[in-house]
Symmetry: C2
Subunit: 230 residues, 2 copies
């Protein structure tokens, strides 16, 4: 078969972080090339002998120096033929979560700068990256309600109030504190530690830990995680 196809394949990653009660997106600014001085998602072209998955992980490492906690394929953007002004590029977008609280992003190198932006205050973005981020945000919101992925945005040990806040922030909803705690605890997938968080004010709060093994086991035997308040 003679096949002359001139489409390039790229991957892009939408990396979400959560800090200071805000949902952030990781963006990079390249100092050279077509993207000079424009903020964009982490991403790049796929190599001939590289899986898509390897490609994203490589870009995450190269461009931001990070390894994410959660990664899944989001959507393949290929219906806008001119999304890249240079030539036809189809991009497989990935959705990633990371505990960003103590993360040090790759410092300004010669090549690029990586920075967190609150999702409600994004800069001008390259290509169709704004649309990609919007798609990712919807995925995050819906997935949060039926898979315990919120924990991948928090440190290993976290306060109940942090978890609660994460849900309220990302879902943009008020959630009853008592009902929320009751439901999460009823699932028996997080465990109390002996430690306390170091909040400055108020009564000290216990730190909790997500038990991923326990969740996996429950999940396999048909358990459905669900957080879905009015």
């Amino acid at each position: 078969m003679e096949l002359k196809q001139n489409i390039k394949l790229a991957v892009d990653a939408i990396v979400f972080g959560y800090a200071d009660n805000k949902l952030n997106v990781l963006l990079i600014k390249q100092k050279f090339g077509i993207l000079k001085n424009q903020w964009a998602l982490v991403g790049g072209f796929v190599k001939d002998n590289e899986t898509l998955n390897d490609a994203v992980n490589r870009e995450l490492k190269e461009e931001a120096g990070i390894k994410v906690n959660y990664l899944e394929q989001l959507y393949t953007f290929g219906d806008n033929i001119n999304r890249d002004p240079r030539f036809r590029v189809v991009s497989v977008a990935y959705f990633a979560l990371i505990n960003s609280t103590k993360l040090i992003l790759k410092a300004d190198s010669d090549a690029e700068e990586a920075k967190w932006f609150p999702i409600n205050n994004l800069p001008e973005l390259a290509f169709d990256h704004k649309e990609i981020i919007a798609t990712a945000q919807l995925r995050l919101q819906s997935k949060l309600t039926y898979q315990p992925i919120g924990f991948d945005l928090l440190p290993k040990e976290f306060l109940f109030s942090e978890l609660e806040n994460l849900y309220c922030t990302i879902l943009n909803k008020e959630i009853d504190r008592r009902n929320f705690r009751k439901k999460i605890l009823s699932y028996d997938i997080i465990e109390e530690t002996e430690k306390y968080g170091n909040k400055i004010k108020g009564r000290p709060a216990k730190l909790f830990r997500f038990n991923k093994q326990k969740y996996s086991k429950l999940h396999k035997s048909g358990f459905l995680f669900e957080i879905n308040f009015a």
Copy 2:
């Protein structure tokens, strides 16, 4: 930027049909080329100036002569580098539903044959198409429970028992007839017609129709469709 990338981009469609209480998948057999005498999904390479969406629709028309009722992107298969023995091909798989009961598939042309296969009795398949179909089946099962896509597998006017059966078959579950009917009717998105189905035995049954407009309106105002029985 100098970019030498040698990856080809294809689309594949998993078309589901429902007939005789069975879930079927549409497969084609090409009489020439690499796929000679192998059953495979409808699909092919994307043209340089064609959206992904146009590519799938074109293949559906060319290879099977059909227009589907429902189409959405499923997943992009690009982690198995050797999924195509010829060269590196990344395939964007689409998930499609069609009312197959009265569908006449493109008859044996010189080029190919299109045929329905029960999902529980698939032939040997080309490439990684078995895996793609498995992914699609999971998507169908989960989507059926939270979006009214079952109607896209039925004729415009259908019997309640057909709908019920479709759910039982695809979800592989027994569902209480009374509770099912009660719940579906409570959503107020299907309407009774004046007509009766032409079953041979038993009491005549009314035909129903899905009111898509009504569903869209409800959906926009926050209504959630959900069919989720123990």
